[in-house]
Structure formats: C-alpha cells, structure tokens
Amino acid sequence: ADQLTLQLKWVTQAQFAGYYVALEKGFYEDEGIDLTIKPGGPDIAPAQVLAGGGADVIVDWMPSALATREKGLGMVNIGQIYGKSGMMLTCLKSSGIASPEDFGGKTLGVWFFGNEYPFLSWMSKLGYETNGGDGVTVLKQGFNVDPIFQGQADCVSTMTYNEYGQVLDGGLTPDELILFKYEDEGVATLEDGLYVMEDTLEDPAKVDAYAKFLKASIAGWEWAKENPEEAAMIVLEYDDTGAQTEDHQVRMMTEVAKLLSASDKGIGYLEPEAYQRTVDVLLSSDSAPVITKEPEGAYTHVVFDAAMAL
C-alpha cells in the first residue's frame, strides 16, 4: 500500500471529520492507502512540516498557502474541501458597533499564525490602520474567546463552527451580539484545502496515490455530512487530549457541513472563480499586501480528475 501522511492545520476536531471518518471506515485502506494523520497545534505550521518532508499532504488555508508559495515553497492545491469561509468577527452590541464603519478606535481580537491574512485584507479594504494610529487596535487573540467576556476586546474572531458556540456557551445571547461574516463582507477567502509539494506531481505514482487519497477523503466527508453525530463520535475517538465534548463536536460537524464545497463536481473540486476571488481579495490590500502578484500554478485539477476517474 502507498504510505501517506496528512498534517492537519489544527487539533483533532470535527473540522477534520472527513479524514477521520475515512480512516475509521477503512476508505483509505480500500483505496490501498496507508494514511497517518498528524494533528496540528497552535504553533505547528503545516507548510513547514510539508517542506521538511514530515507530511505528504497538508490541510491549509489558501491565503497562507499562497503567501508561502510566494516565499518560494512550491506548494500546490490538489483539492478544496471547504467551499465557504466560516470566519467572522463577533462584536458586542454594547460596544456601539453596528457596521464596519464603527470599527475605528475599537479593539479587535484576531488570530495570527497565518490566519490573519483575510483580516488584514479586510481592514485594508476598509481603510483602517492596524498598527495603532487612528485605525483599529488589534489583539493577538489567544486560543479562546475570553477577551469578549472580560471586556478586553470589543470584537473577537470566531469560526461559525467553533468559537461562536463558545461565545454562546459563555452566557452571551445572540441578541447581545452582532456578527460580521467574511462571506457577507465580500472578503471571504478559501479555507481548508489540501496541498502537496509541486515537484512530487511530476511523479505519476505519487499523483496516483494522491488521487486515491483524495477519493477516499471525499468519501469520508460525504459520509460525515450525512451522519454528523457518528462522525463527531469518531472524531472524539481520535482526540488524545480528552478535552473535546460530544455536544461541541456534534455542533461543529453540523456547522462544518454547511461550509463543504457545493460545486456541481462535488466536494474537493476547486472552483477557479472561487480561487480567483480569494486571489483578488489578497491582492487588493495595498498596505502590507499578503501577496504581491498573481500566483501561477498554485492549484491543479489533475489529482481531482484522476480521483474521479478511479
């Protein structure tokens, strides 16, 4: 069997349910793939693991993948799992924010570590300075949404499938909050996609292995979408920290299902228009640009096509 290692972007959770389902249900095995899943963590950069040879395939967000590609690391998208962005800025109504025009002078919590690119593009589009001055005050938000409870921030970054639930759990009610989804603000960028090193695509055997992997993963995702509760349980099985709860994972799975790509070709196909939209958003920021020029060859449909042909 072909040995492959998949590096996740974050800790074991329903965000990555499809891969765990495929592993648990033997979809990879059926395709002749021996897959190892490496969970990520707050300071694991999947691209770095990919460059070091610690993984064959990684899950990454497109903004940071494109930025890394511009740094000279030839990584290529071979399949896009999420078609929509789940990112949003969650603000307290009591802070007086009603629309993005009110951000000036407010404190916003943001994730960094390569997750900040969409935010920076958005602020640049709105014309806010992010380095102090008369723009917005940015906090590097830790791992949780505490700042909004403790009054340290007016807004925090949340994912629809994860942190937003925590905000509600923490005692804030939807009517106390106002949400700015990146999708709605026209600054959405593509999130979880699968990336490999460009030079490995020259090897037909590798492409074949990727295709089998992609096919099984897609099957896993489809199964997860249909059976969110069982999928969540499978994820829980694989969580080594023992900190995840069933409620939370089921809710996450339900939310994640809404984000899976909905193109006619099914989950895993990267729509060129969606790709172009992401590139445009990233290019549009004039201060601190995430990328400076149109990327070339940043994605390929070869693997997806091969997978469909299997």
Binding site: A45, A47, A67, K71, L139, K140, G142, P147, Q152
Partner: protein
C-alpha cells in the same frame, strides 16, 4: 617555525571555508561532495587555532578582557560556517532553516520592528517583572529570616512552588491582567520570586557561625548584624538568583505572549512569523533575545566579580 607555518595555513583554510560558504551558489554540496573535505580541514584548523589561542591567553594573565572573547567568537564562527555551508550547500528550504546570512540580512532589514518588539517584551515586561520579582523575594526573605514562624511556613511552600512549571500560569495571568505587558510581567514576578526568596534566605542563614558569635559578643543590633555580616555573606547567593532569574524572565515573557498579546513583542513576532513562513525573521528575533539574555547575564557576572572580589569562587576562578 613549522608551527607558525601550520598556524598560517590554518588561518588560510578558515578564511577560505568562510568565504566559500558565503559565495558559492546554492546546492554546491549536492553538486560536488568534495567540498566536505574542505569542511573537515576547516574544523580541524579551527580547533587547532582555538587550542593555540587558549594556550597563548592562559600564558598572558594580564591580557585585556576583550581578548578572552576571541576563542568563543571563533567557536561561533565555526558553528555558523558549518550551518551556512550545509544550508546553502544542500539548499535546505529557508522555510525549515534559513542560512545565517539570511538571518543577518533580516536583522538589518527589520531594525524598527525588532526594536519595537524588544521595547515591548524586554524593556517593559521583563524589566518590570524581574525587578518586582527579585525585590519582593529579597524582602520576604528578610521577614522569613527574622521570624522562625514565617521561615517554617514559607520555605516548604517556596520549595513546592519552585517545582511548579510556572509557565502554566501564563494563560491565567493573561486572563487576569489583560493582553498587554503587565500580564507578562506578572508571570515573571511569580517565576523569579521564589528563586530569589530561597537563595536570599539560604544566603542570610549561611552566615559563618563564628561571625554570628562575634556579632553576638559585640551585642550588635539586628540592623548592624544585617549590614556587617548577613548581607555580604548572602551576596553570592543573591547573585546566583539574579543570574538564574535573568534567563527565566525572558523565557517567561515569551511563553506568556503565546497566550495573547497586542501585535508587538518578541514572542508575538516569533509565533506570527513562523506562521508566515518568515523563518529568517524568527531567527533574527531569537538572536535578539539571546543577545539580550547573554548581555544581561554577562553584566550581572561582571558586577558579581566586582562586588565579590573577596569570595573564594571569584578569587579561585580561572584567569
């Protein structure tokens, strides 16, 4: 004569290797593994030079202090050159490990950013936390040395707390003291308090029994005892704590920045730039941190030599 010639040859080989590592094109080691030969000769030559330099310096008891930095300097050159040779020679992706030359470039190109980070982390959080932690540890030790009750109660507690991995309190401190530097300073206060407390207490109690008796025969007041015997006797221990704390403080601040910061600071920079794949910038920040730490440590060590000229550890120290 022969040895002079050998030395000259060694210097030459070192220079050639350093030059080669900087100028040859990417991937030269992969292309021509024969370069390994030069690298091996380089290590041998540099070892020889370090040996000779050490011997020469040892024979020169009155040589300038600065000369003593030459040997460790050469050692650093060796390490950096090997690093440079291997990363460039095998074109290691800079995303994994940048070449030293890239790091130096990043240092020069990002001066203002690095300075702002340094100000935030070192000048604000580390200094404040270090001073508060050390001073309060010192003061509480005074109280404990005066009251047997406090000593009996606090010392086991101190020993217990110093076994706690204090980094664990970083998320709590961020929760309590906010995102800016005070939460980092708070972590440092907790980290540095106990080493200073335990060391000062041990120092104050280590007063020679004979000196204690002597002060007793003079019917000295406790303030007089403190300044004449206890404080000088405790100084070596206090310096010990100051030096330990100097390294702890920086680690504490950077770990605490991991759990939330404003968008400036050395810990912030490191974790953000890793995410952005700017490893040269990451290493540049590490260099700044290591420099700041080493210089603080060195300054403390110098001060210690000054103040403790009378202490056996200083008098017997190698030249």
């Amino acid at each position: 004569m022969k040895s002079t010639l050998l030395t000259a040859l060694s210097v030459l080989i070192v220079l050639v290797q350093v030059g080669a590592s900087l100028t040859l094109s990417e991937g030269f080691m992969t292309a021509a593994p024969a370069w390994w030969l030069l690298l091996i000769f380089f290590v041998a030559s540099a070892t020889r030079l370090m040996n000779e330099m050490t011997r020469w310096l040892d024979a020169q008891p009155n040589a300038n202090r600065l000369f003593k930095l030459v040997v460790p300097g050469l050692f650093a050159v060796v390490l950096l050159t090997i690093w440079q040779t291997l990363t460039r020679g095998y074109s290691v992706p800079s995303v994994l490990l940048p070449a030293p030359s890239d790091i130096v470039l990043a240092l020069f190109n990002n001066g203002p950013v690095l300075w702002a980070d340094f100000k935030q982390t070192f000048l604000k959080a580390v200094l404040a936390g270090y001073v508060i932690g050390c001073v309060s540890g010192f003061i509480v030790a005074q109280l404990a040395v005066k009251s047997r009750f406090l000593e009996l109660g606090l010392v086991p507690l101190g020993n217990f707390v110093s076994a706690i991995p204090i980094v664990g309190i970083a998320p709590i401190m961020v929760m309590w003291f906010g995102f800016d530097w005070p939460s980092k300073a708070a972590v440092i206060v907790v980290m540095t308090f106990f080493p200073m407390f335990i060391n000062t207490l041990t120092g104050l109690q280590s007063v020679d029994a004979l000196h204690k008796d002597l002060m007793h025969t003079y019917a000295a007041k406790s303030a007089q005892k403190f300044t004449t015997t206890q404080l000088p006797q405790a100084l070596p221990y206090i310096f010990n704590a100051l030096k330990i704390n100097a390294t702890l403080a920086l680690i504490g601040a950077i770990v605490a920045e991991f759990f939330g910061t404003p968008i400036v600071g050395m810990g912030f920079r490191i974790s953000t730039e890793v995410g952005r794949m700017n490893m040269d910038m990451v290493w540049a920040t590490i260099v700044v941190a290591a420099l700041a730490g080493s210089i603080s440590y060195g300054a403390l060590a110098l001060l210690e030599r000054r103040l403790l000229f009378w202490h056996a550890s200083v008098r017997n120290a190698q030249p």
